[in-house]
Subunit: 420 residues, 2 copies
């Protein structure tokens, strides 16, 4: 074993063959990662192993040589494939002993649920000699807090997210703070960008991305790029004080490409700007089929700004509900600036909205032509002072969903920029 | 290094500080786990490490001593914190070299997107000497297939799920089969259910869920429940022969609750049934704001059945575009059977569609009342022989997105059942 000083940070070990079989997504790891960050506990590795005694012991032993704190989840239940407690004891050559208070608690809980305590369930009352009980207020499987070797502590939790979270909050957090393992805090902030690629942003901000505290990390989604700013400090105020000037610098350098932060979406930002002006918005959608409206309706309270609109998927609907002239459709085709403009103006007229967005394009995989390939989308914006439209080429290679998602974002972004 | 025979199975290594910070859920690991199982590749461990050169190298080296196949995701991008390729080369003491064909491909892709290739991006053309290119058909970051030491092969993928999946299917799967690493097969099949809870389904099928080969595993999504049937056998035909009678039994027991299999969605199933009858569909949406239309438009080729409709978010739009009488809105309120029916009949009349679906409800968090609480949604279905509507209570506790998603699914499911 290395001396305590060589071990650093925290690790997470999730136990369960269902994770290896792809049956479920590992949401526990994400939740715990978030919690560790909030406590200022640096966290360097996550592992998943199946319900296999040998591999579980190997994973525990290797973690005990690397980190100061190991959080395990899963494998505390009553069935024969629940091996975590037994493997923990074996990994550190320690016998198990029954804790009478745990067995009493299990019996009480089962009787309350109308079940009879079985010998199988009694296994859950075993803990390694020397380990501290980490009580489970709701379920029957308790965890442990144990320092089997100096400088290395492990906390075990059940895999059921609800039980794990309750135990984390009730016992683990106070213990981590009191033990001194959780010193200081990490504060982090998300900035959100549209209309700039991850690579371009990274070049433009290369010097800031090289910083070590605070750090800036880019992440590319579908059209949207985010930057995560993270600072470590003794307390929240000090961490925030490190973030504030960095955020100001990032916003100054990136200008209008930065559309928001935190949980903002393009839709929420556009709705807030319109709300402030007392203006309203309608949509006319062809290839997005309602997705632009759905993005707006996803924001709580959208209804005081977003009035609705028309899903003009078929040309007949464009004519009937939006008054797009048949001649315009014949002459230019549905995917064209004149038709997109007529759609935006039509829905603006029909609903009396201040602003209107229209989308007409070819989402594919079929329907493309040499003149109008898959991925070509015309986006129109009608406002109080007229209507503009532009054709954008999103490319065919990333598929229908991608083209629809980018059309929605690009359309909202045009309105955002128009609202300045 | 141990002799090749001591290494077993596959491991997954996901690279990205965003996973350690809890910013995103590791859905890639689950998807890959699923894929490995389908190929009959036993998979014993998953790891996540951050964008840290030293820890990445340590994780690569330790995996190379344990497993025969390592799949890495993430860290192939152009930014300075993308370190995977460099760490892989360093872990096995091998220099990097630029691949001219990769650099040419990157330049072509960037020019097509209207961006100029920068020196930063050029890093993505580097691969370790001796590694085989794993082409990325859509993005600029290629992966590699490399056997740096005898008996250990690694495949690297970008972290962007769409790109990873495309590369896995186009190149990795054929390579794994041909290399002999994927021996024997797991065949699996997904059955999809709507209108029955996971617990009810599990009780009803308890005997089948207890089987060991084939296995049946339930999974609950938002409203939808899926069963995954998996069989292991020497070849595909033998595995399929195990699945066929199980699937037949499951379908017989569950009746109309099973709406499809594989990649089916309620929308795709409804569109296929209407296509076969040569019938059309329109929608009138209030609280879903376009989401029902978007679910239909997400299906390639939807346009020959789905004509569009009206997003009647505001009451004025319900009157103006759907002809819902003001008196009906006054008397019953927008969230009521009479108004939902008038919406469905209005959009059916306006578009001339055979069928129409209408949704009017309270998605919350605001807008509820004792009479009409958050989560109450009225769903109307107009067809060739009249129109029906029903109020459904989805509950407020799981939030706005949940209510919208369930409204969309329940609405489509009603049409599915009507089409019998």
């Amino acid at each position: 074993m290395p001396p305590p000083s060589q071990r650093i940070g925290a690790e997470i070990l999730c136990v369960g063959s269902e994770l290896l079989l792809g049956s479920i997504v590992n949401t526990n790891a994400r939740w715990l990662a978030d919690q560790l960050a909030a406590l200022g506990l640096a966290h360097y590795r996550q592992q998943v192993v199946g319900d296999h005694r040998g591999r579980l012991i190997a994973a525990l032993q290797s973690a005990s040589r690397r980190c100061r704190l190991l959080i395990t989840t899963g494998g505390l239940g009553p069935t024969p494939d629940d091996l975590t407690t037994e493997a923990i004891a074996a990994a550190f050559d320690t016998p198990l002993e029954e804790r009478p208070e745990v067995w009493a608690d299990i019996q009480t809980k089962l009787v309350r649920r109308g079940r009879s305590p079985s010998p199988t369930v009694r296994r859950q009352a075993l803990l390694p000699v020397g380990a501290t009980l980490l009580p489970n207020p709701t379920g029957t499987a308790p965890g442990m807090i144990w320092t089997p070797v100096p400088g290395f502590t492990l906390l075990s939790f059940p895999g059921v997210p609800r039980e794990m979270k309750a135990m984390w909050e009730a016992t683990a957090v106070p213990w981590l703070r009191q033990s001194g393992l959780a010193q200081g805090v990490f504060a982090s902030r998300i900035l959100r960008f549209w209309g700039v690629g991850e690579a371009t942003l990274a070049e433009q901000l290369a010097d800031l991305l090289a910083g070590s505290n605070p750090t800036v990390a880019p992440y590319a989604g579908a059209g949207e790029v985010t930057l995560r700013l993270t600072a470590a400090a003794a307390d929240r105020a000090a961490a925030e004080a490190l973030l504030a000037p960095l955020e100001a610098e990032l916003r100054a350098r990136t200008g209008t490409a930065c559309f928001g932060d935190g949980d903002d979406s393009l839709a929420s930002v556009v709705l807030a700007a319109l709300r402030q002006r007392g203006q309203s918005l309608a949509v006319a959608e062809s290839c997005t089929g309602g997705g632009l409206g759905a993005a707006l309706a996803a924001v709580p309270g959208a209804s005081d700004v977003f009035v609705g609109g028309v899903i003009a998927y078929a040309n007949a609907v464009k004519q009937q509900l939006l008054g797009v002239p048949a001649a315009l459709l014949r002459e230019h085709g549905a995917v064209s600036d004149p038709v997109a403009r007529a759609m935006a103006e039509g829905v603006q007229r029909q609903t009396g909205s201040t602003w209107a967005l229209a989308v007409s394009g070819i989402a594919g995989p079929g329907g493309g032509s040499p003149d109008k390939p898959v991925g070509l989308v015309h986006l129109a914006l009608a406002g109080p002072h007229g209507c503009t439209s532009e054709g954008v080429q999103f490319g065919a290679s990333r598929g229908r969903g991608w083209i629809q998602t980018l059309s929605i974002g690009e359309s909202l972004n045009r309105l955002r920029l128009a609202l300045g």
